[in-house]
Amino acid sequence: MNVEVSLAAFSVAGLAHRCREETERFYRRLQVDERYCFELFRRAIRHRSEQAWNLIVRQYTHQVTAWIQRHESFAGADEACDYFVNHAFARFWRAFNRDPHKLDRFSGLKPLLQYLKLCAHSAIKEHVQRHMHPGQLSLSEHVRTGVPFTADPAATVDGQLGAERLWQRVLEIVKTDQERIVAEAYLIHDMKPREIFAWREDAFSDIVQVRRVKDNFLTRLRRDAQLLAILAGHV
């Protein structure tokens, strides 16, 4: 007798066992039945099964570790691999915890694991960005992911509101389109005058003009009392 067993009949333990077996088949280049692994994710996400989630973490920690070790930014990240592994899984969990129906957009295990890999990338990349430019991460990242940041004024909600106010003040100080372009390119994108000119050749006659606009604008910026007050409150 060979009757197709419904996935609903499997316990979480049974699914984890089959998922592990099928993953072994994958590494041996055999044909794989990915339904069990996908069902394990479904139980974790839709049924909020902590046991299923723990087994997923156990199953895929090795894979996530390998991804992180092969990431081009990992060597310079100055943090242990486990740190990023934990953050990768935390991001994945938060993304689906906020929106369990997000799972409907995944056709199978492969795209789901792609998403887990994206979480690994995001964990490393944002860590590196944060340490290179401590103030630069946006409110959107903090609020959406809830990833705890190290103490950093611009990374707090208040800090981010301050950043919004700062930018609004900058826009109030600019007098021309050229100054607005330079403000955005220099302050937000960290572009050099040569790069600004290459980006918006239509707005400037040459690089010298870019530098002049930038110097004049920054001089006004440094003297703006309101801007300085917002900055002071940001500390």
């Binding site: 060979n2 333990a13 994958f26 046991q51 430019h133 630069q136 990242e141 700062l166 910026l221």
Partner: protein, 209 residues
């Protein structure tokens, strides 16, 4: 650099850029339309995000599907045949027999044995009390084909789980025998998974009778 300028840049750098997750979800086609359009528009002008997107795409396709065949759902015939039985409420005729062998005089080795028919297999399970640790028992097992002949079980393994955690794994011998060493006798049931190249049996809610 002037301190005011430095601080401004620290705070405002990439202030409007989408997150790495948004960039990745954009690439994977997971963003809803309004957010997707916002990101697409931002990407037209932001060199940093353009570079990030390239990095994301490279990373996500690294060690890609070329390593192994695409996962496809195998046909019924090709799949490992899996049988799942909940011993709390087994289907009719699954339990073939249940016997109790009392302890011999002066000994504590009473044994409860139950035999189940699961698909093409007969599985006999015996809990034998541990003479020296009365709150523990051995689990002895035996699997054989219903129709005699042809199956050797040395490639099979027996996996024991409890509360969704693996407890132990033991190999079967060629005759299908296996033994789990001293197991705590608790109210929490076990799950026994007998796993071989051609078949697998999941026995859920296994209790010492």
């Amino acid at each position: 650099m002037d301190p005011t300028e430095r601080k401004l840049k620290e705070i405002l750098f990439r202030h409007f850029c989408p997150t790495q997750m948004d960039l990745g979800e954009y690439d994977l086609g997971l963003l809803d339309a309004p957010r997707r359009d916002q990101v697409a528009s931002h990407l037209q002008d932001c060199v940093h995000c353009q570079q990030d997107l390239v990095q994301i795409r490279t990373f996500l396709t690294q060690d890609g599907p070329a390593r192994a065949p695409d996962s496809v759902t195998p046909s019924l015939r090709e799949r490992v045949k899996v049988f799942v039985v909940n011993l709390l409420s087994p289907p009719p005729n699954v339990l073939v027999s249940s016997t109790f062998q009392p302890a011999l005089r002066g000994q504590e080795n009473e044994m409860h044995t139950q035999v189940y028919q699961v698909g093409p297999y007969l599985v006999a399970l015996s809990f034998q009390k541990n003479a020296t640790r009365l709150d523990h028992a051995y689990l002895l097992g035996d699997i054989s084909p219903v129709d005699e002949g042809g199956v050797e079980f040395q490639a099979w393994k027996a996996h024991l789980w409890q509360s969704d955690s693996p407890v132990a794994t033991v190999p079967l011998d060629a005759d299908g025998h296996f033994t789990f060493g001293s197991l705590p006798i608790t109210d929490t049931p076990y799950e026994l998974i007998l796993s071989g190249p051609d078949g697998e049996i999941h026995l859920q809610n296994l209790h010492r009778p």
